[in-house]
Symmetry: C2
Subunit: 254 residues, 2 copies
DNA sequence: GCTACACCCG
DNA sequence: CGGGTGTAGC
């Protein structure tokens, strides 16, 4: 089976591209972020027509997460410890695999209130895992973590050193999450540098090759053990009306 | 030769549709209205590539008129008696034919200040013709006049009787303009009702057939005498991203 | 740059 | 409804 995550930067603005990618990729499970739509307006029908069950958790203008699954979706949990922002959505796909679609706060600028919120959000996510999950059971955390964990995850690390996406404090928060018991599926199959998953819309970042790897598929060891392949669909950052993020995918021999 | 007028409701939003229509229609002269763009941002290159000379007169958010011509453009005049609003543009196309792209004020609501301005604008246009033109020389006034002159120019005349587009005072102002010495080229070839040129974006006006004929090709007798055919490209109101206006065209055996 | 949003306008 | 404007967020 194929699992994937994609920050689509508005599911309504991106619908045609997402559907075409879906038809080409045929993933079994997809986590979406920044859907930017309230649940009543989520364009569910084209996904249902393609055989997916949906769990959606949206809000008015920002954020918004969703899970598409060809396996039966159950035990849906919306929000991290009952927060109102639509950044966390969990569901069980099929018998055992628990999947979380995650959109970590960007952090604004280093030192801001938003920055504090981002670092705390990592702590709260780790606390949630400690209390509600176990590294021994099949769990997939997929989403936009807004952190490039290591220098090889940044095309020009020096230029990004003080940014919210690569600041040492954000990387430390990400590492603490990993240390709970998660495996970075991309790094099982790619040494790097890259593959990158995000290029700023501004400053010609994509043509200049100024990418970061901030979208991740993180899984517990029983899931990671059966990951045979993983990658990034970089071509989705090209052409007309791309998201600023590319999809990240992994093949699981479950 | 073919002459045409089209209120495009933003040349930037409509560019692809206008170019495709141009390639299919191959008009020699086109008057555009509601280009909604300052001259520096007018997308001139695709028109030049197709063999047109351009005269443009635009402003920031509203209005904006342009003339495209395969014949040499000369003697360009911008604005009606030096007004700032981009509603009038005149040029000579080729040796003798003078062409004006005209965007008459809508008029807001009957009785408003905008309504007064609309009626006066017609007076000023007539005064301009009296002082600067002659019914004996080749002149084409093409544009959105925001007036349906007669009941046969409105699909549901009773419903529109008190509107700014069909109010008796607006029709009288239009008639006075015609009486200077202009011929309505569409009415040379169509008895009506219709053909209509505008359907409100709101209230499902197009599917309900609720159209008005408010865009006109008005010409002096020497031009009208060689008009062999005229019509409205109603299909341009269909499909994706249509303008609310359809192009009006005429064939001149000049 | 490319999303949203609110507002103005026909 | 579908253009324009501006502002905010990333």
């Amino acid at each position: 089976m194929i699992v994937a995550t994609w920050n689509v930067n508005s599911i309504r603005a991106r619908l045609e591209r997402v559907l075409q990618w879906l038809d080409r990729t045929e993933p079994d499970i997809v986590c979406l972020q920044e859907t930017k739509v309230v649940d009543a307006d989520f364009p569910a029908d084209p996904f249902r027509e393609r055989g997916y069950e949906l769990a959606v958790f949206g809000q008015k203008a920002y954020n918004g997460v969703a899970i598409l699954s060809r396996l039966p979706l159950q035990d849906v949990r919306r929000g991290l410890d009952g927060e109102q922002e639509a950044r966390f959505l969990q569901a069980r796909c099929g018998d055992r695999l628990v999947v979380c679609s995650v959109y970590v706060p960007n952090g604004g600028t280093v030192g801001s209130e938003a920055w504090d919120y981002k670092l705390r959000w990592f702590d709260r996510l780790r606390a949630y895992l400690e209390r509600a999950a176990s590294p021994e059971t099949p769990l997939l955390l997929a989403g936009d973590f807004n952190v490039a964990p290591e220098p090889r995850d940044v095309a020009f690390p020096e230029a990004w050193a003080d940014s919210v996406l690569f600041h040492e404090a954000a990387r430390a928060a990400f590492r603490k999450l990993i240390d709970w018991g998660l495996v970075d599926l991309i790094r099982l199959h790619h040494e790097g540098p890259g593959p990158f998953t995000w290029w700023d819309y501004r400053n010609l970042a994509f043509p200049r090759g100024d990418g970061l790897r901030i979208d991740h598929l993180l899984a517990t060891p029983p899931v990671a053990a059966c990951c045979t392949e993983a990658g990034v669909h970089r071509e989705e950052r090209k052409g007309k009306k791309p998201s600023d993020h590319a999809p990240v995918w992994a093949r699981l021999n479950l």
